[in-house]
Every structure is written in C-alpha cells, then in structure tokens.
C-alpha cells in the first residue's frame, strides 16, 4: 500500500441550498490502496460525503483535496483536470435507477469511455471486457429498466468498471439486494481491494464492514465524523454504534440461548426477534 493521500478533507461542511445541513466539520484522509468504510445512519451525510469526494458537490467551508489538488468548481472548469479526475475516480450511486440513464445496457457501459474520448475500438473492447467481467454479456441489448435489482447493480458497476478507475466510491452498495447479490457484491469489493484499488464504501450494513474495510469512519446523526478506527475497534464500541443509530437493543433469542434477553446487537440470522 502506498502512502499517497487520495483524499484529504479538512473541516469540510456542506448544506443543501446553504440551509439544510448535511455534513459538519468533517476531516478525513484516505490513502491510495486503502479500503475505507463510512458508517452512518440514514440521513447522516454519507452520500453527501461521497459526492463531495467525487467533485459533484463543493464544500461550503473547509478544504477538500484529491490527489494533492483542491476540489473546487474552478478546478473542474479546466478540461484537463476534469478529464484526469473523472478517469481516476468512479462513483456507484445507491439508486441504480439514477445511474442507469441510457436506453440499453451496452450504451450505459459505453457512456463513460465515450465521454472520456477513447477511440471506437477501445470503447468496444472496454465495454465487452466489463460485460464479461461482471457476467452480464447476455444483457447487452436489454433496457436497464427491465432488469432485476441485482442485474441493475451489476450494470451500474460495469458502467464504472469500463473506465477502470483507481478509486471506487460505493454508496450503500448492498441496499435492496437479495442475499446472493449482496455476497457477490462483497466479493467484488474484496477483489477490487486486492487489485490495489482504493475503495470507499458508505454503508450502514455492519455485517459487511469487516470484509470490505481496513479502516472505518463513523458519522453521527448530527452530521459530524465522531470516530475512526479499525473495523474491530469500531464494531466493538457498542455505545458509539447505539449513539449513532447503527445498532439497537430489543428482546430476542439466540439459536444457542433459548431464554429471552436483551443486549445491543445487529441483525444476524441466529437472532430471533421477539418484539418489533
């Protein structure tokens, strides 16, 4: 793992329309080749943070840098900077409907290579490789809206894989997927990490954190980054997870413990909940 800072955010705040706070005084650093999870409950500001990292939003306060350069609106006016940054960073949106805007799967996967000005032959090769890699060759002529949730997610990943970014930003990648698609997606993220890619995943699914991250940042419901550490350190801090609405406590049974009891927990198959 290299020590080059891919993202360096210092005291970043962002509010929608300058009024609705989404992120407050956030500081974080992501190094090249790192796998980082951003944990937070719904509405905590995870998606906003990823959009700031992808240069889609710009901070109201603080500084956001990527690859040593400030992410500002002015910087993205420069075609060379925009081209270089977009080629290096890929964002997979939480809602695949947003990401899949083209009328066919082939067009969707070809969109980025085309916008980045690749030659026709290279575009065709990259699209074919991405489709094969994600095992969706048969979907190439299908309309994205006709696909299942798992297939849509694969196409969304292929649409980013086709320009082979150094950095993957994943927004709630397992949300709404069936168990098989979820485990496939976790494997995909592990593969990207092994291939030396930087992977930043925003999630509130604590079950996958240990597999997809080496380091974790936690955002609370007041939109502040309140902790960072290894997955083991963060997941064992129940007080923090309860305070950030990532873990809850109610009556349940275990497979190996039949009497009702209560303690903070996340949802695993071995828990039988007794109250909603």
């Amino acid at each position: 793992m290299s020590n080059e800072a891919v993202f360096d955010f210092q005291g970043v705040s962002f509010a929608y329309d300058g009024k609705v706070k989404a992120l407050e005084d956030a500081s974080l650093c992501v190094e090249a080749g790192e796998r980082v999870a951003i944990l937070g409950s719904n509405g905590s500001g995870k998606s906003t943070l990823l959009k700031l990292m992808d240069g889609l939003y710009f901070p109201n306060a603080g500084t956001a840098c990527a690859f040593g350069a400030a992410l500002t609106e002015q910087a993205f006016q420069d075609d060379a900077f925009n081209f270089s940054f977009r080629q290096r960073v890929g964002l997979v949106f939480q809602d695949s409907e947003v990401q899949l805007f083209s009328p066919s799967v082939w067009d969707e996967v070809a969109f980025a290579p085309l916008q980045l000005g690749l030659r026709r032959e290279d575009v065709v090769k990259r699209v074919d490789d991405a489709l094969v890699s994600l095992r969706i060759e048969k979907l190439r002529d299908r309309a994205p809206h006709r696909l299942s949730g798992g297939e849509k997610k694969r196409v969304a990943l292929a649409s980013v894989l086709s320009f082979n970014p150094e950095v993957w930003l994943m927004d709630e990648p397992t949300a709404g997927l069936d168990p098989r698609s979820q485990s496939w997606l976790v494997d995909f993220l592990i593969e990207q990490g092994r291939a030396g890619k930087t992977v930043v995943t925003a999630t509130h699914d604590l079950n996958i954190v240990d597999s997809i991250a080496d380091r974790v940042y936690v955002i609370n419901e007041d939109h502040h980054i309140v902790a960072q550490g290894t997955p083991g350190e963060v997941l064992s801090n129940h007080e923090l997870l309860i305070a950030c609405n990532l873990m809850h406590e109610h009556l349940h049974r275990h497979d190996d413990r039949s009497e009702e009891h209560s303690h903070p927990h996340i949802h695993l198959p071995s828990h039988e909940h007794l109250t909603a």
């Binding site: 925009n82 805007f101 067009d107 980025a112 916008q115 309309a143």
Partner: protein
C-alpha cells in the same frame, strides 16, 4: 377527509384517473417498450436500422407528394407485404392503424366531404350533399395518413427503440437530441410506475368515497409530489452523468454495420420511392 365520507359504504370501483393512468402505462409499455416483434426473425428485423429510417423517410415523402390514389394504395399494400415477411401479426398491424383513424383523421376529413365544391356524388336530406371532389379529398387524406402511420409503425415494431434513436444520426439529428430522447424514453417508464404506485398507495389508505373537491386536492398534491420527485431524479441523473465524464456535449456511438443485404434493401427502397414519386406526379387529384 370529512367524517361523512369515511362512513359511506365503499363500492368496488376504479377512479377515472387511476383507470386512465393504468391504461396509459399499459399501452405505452406495450407499444414502446415491448420489443417482442423486434426480436423475431424477419426481413425488416435483419436490416440495418439506418436503412430502415432512410427508407421510411423516403417513402413518407413519396406518399406526401403523390397525386395518385393508386400509388398511395400501392405503397400501403407494400407495407402489408413487408409486415407479412417480418413476422408482424397482420390483424394487429391493420387494427393498430385503422382503429384510431376515424377518431383523428376521420374528424378532420369529414367536413371536406360536404364543404368542398364540386359535382354532386350523393344528395342528402336537409340540402346537404357529398361532392365527388370532397370524397376524393377525404379519401386522399385518409389513405395518406394511414399509409404514413403504417410505415412509422412498421419501423417501430421491427426495430428496438434504442436502435431507432441511434439510427437518427444518419439524418444528422444532433447527438444531444438523441440523448434527450433516449433518456425521456427511459424515464417515462420509471415515472409511469411511480404514478401507478402513488395511486395504489393512496387507494390502499382511502376508506370511503371522496368528494370531488377532495379528489381534486389529492390529485393536485400527487402531481406536485411527482413533479418534486422528477426534479430530484433529474438532478441526481445529471450528477451521475457528470461523474462519468459528461461535459454538456454528449458523445455517442453506434455499432451498425452495412452488409450486402442492407445495401440491396436501400437501393431497392430508393428505387421504389423514385418510381412512386414519378408515378404519383402523373396522377391528378
């Protein structure tokens, strides 16, 4: 909801708006999004979409310019033959054109029967009469429209919509226009389903009959909500495009390849068009 409306007995019924939206959704899905026929094996399905678009435009011009009924009828028969060899169900194809013809073109053509000056063809009571010239004018209009609609339907039925859009490039339609059309097509589907879900969700929570004013208020609120959702969606989609390198001027690419059959078809169709235009110019209305 008022107290009285809550206690009224509920009759099993579907509101006019729900019914209409459901029908629109179903019809659009069937007519635009269902590509069953386009996936069949047939002559037109095997032709390059650009050839089909060019041929259709050429034939539309021939239909529009023709002053001969026989030529227009001939071109209409050609569409039937093409439909037949392209696995398009004949009754479906004919009905699709002629069922709507009286409602749209018929209404426009009807007055021409009576108001166009000329020799009397049929004398009607109350001093009304259908003139020969009026009948010919109405017939020309009906046949021109039905043949043109048949050509367009044939293209859409035998070509995936995505390919139709890409093939528009051959007519030098700007890329940005093609991109917007493609996105419109893609998101109409999503928004139609959102509308359906919104009405079903409302239906599941309404426990009585609503007054007209309440219905109107709910519909206005739903329309507002849908507008808000579509605005949010468009903003997010734009971000997703930016994220993948979009800079306001889209680059698109087609993967069409012209083969011998495509060239033969193109030459054949242009010949037919040329002959139709020449023969059509000989006739008189």
């Amino acid at each position: 909801m008022s107290a009285t409306s809550e206690t009224k007995p509920v009759k099993k019924r579907q509101g006019v708006i729900e019914h209409t939206l459901s029908d629109i959704s179903h019809t659009l899905e069937q007519s635009i999004f269902a590509e069953d026929i386009a996936r069949q094996r047939g002559l037109l399905q095997s032709i390059d979409p650009r050839v089909k678009v060019l041929s259709m435009v050429a034939l539309l011009i021939a239909v529009g310019l023709s002053r001969s009924l026989a030529v227009i009828i001939g071109l209409y028969l050609l569409t039937l033959v093409l439909a037949r060899v392209s696995a398009v169900p004949m009754s479906f194809f004919i009905k699709r054109v002629w069922l709507f013809m009286p409602f749209f073109t018929g209404i426009i053509a009807l007055p021409a029967l009576f108001i166009t000056p000329g020799p009397t063809l049929v004398q009607l009571p109350l001093g009304l009469m259908i003139t020969r010239t009026g009948a010919m004018t109405a017939l020309f209009l009906l046949l021109r429209v039905s043949t043109s609609v048949s050509l367009a339907i044939l293209l859409v039925l035998t070509t995936p919509w995505n390919s139709v859009l890409k093939a528009l490039g051959v007519l030098h339609v700007p890329d940005v226009f093609v991109l917007i059309l493609g996105m419109t097509y893609r998101y109409i589907y999503l928004l139609l389903h959102t509308v359906n879900d919104m009405f079903l969700s409302r239906k599941s929570r309404v426990m009585g009959r609503l007054s007209g004013a309440e219905e109107r208020r709910l519909i206005a609120a739903s329309a507002g909500t849908l507008l808000g959702k579509s605005l949010h969606l468009s903003g997010e989609v734009y971000l997703a495009m930016q994220s993948r390198g979009f800079r306001g001027y889209p680059r698109t690419m087609d993967t069409f390849k012209m083969r011998a059959l495509d060239w033969a078809c193109l030459i054949g169709m242009l010949l037919v068009t040329g002959i139709a235009i020449w023969l059509g110019s000989q006739g008189t209305q």
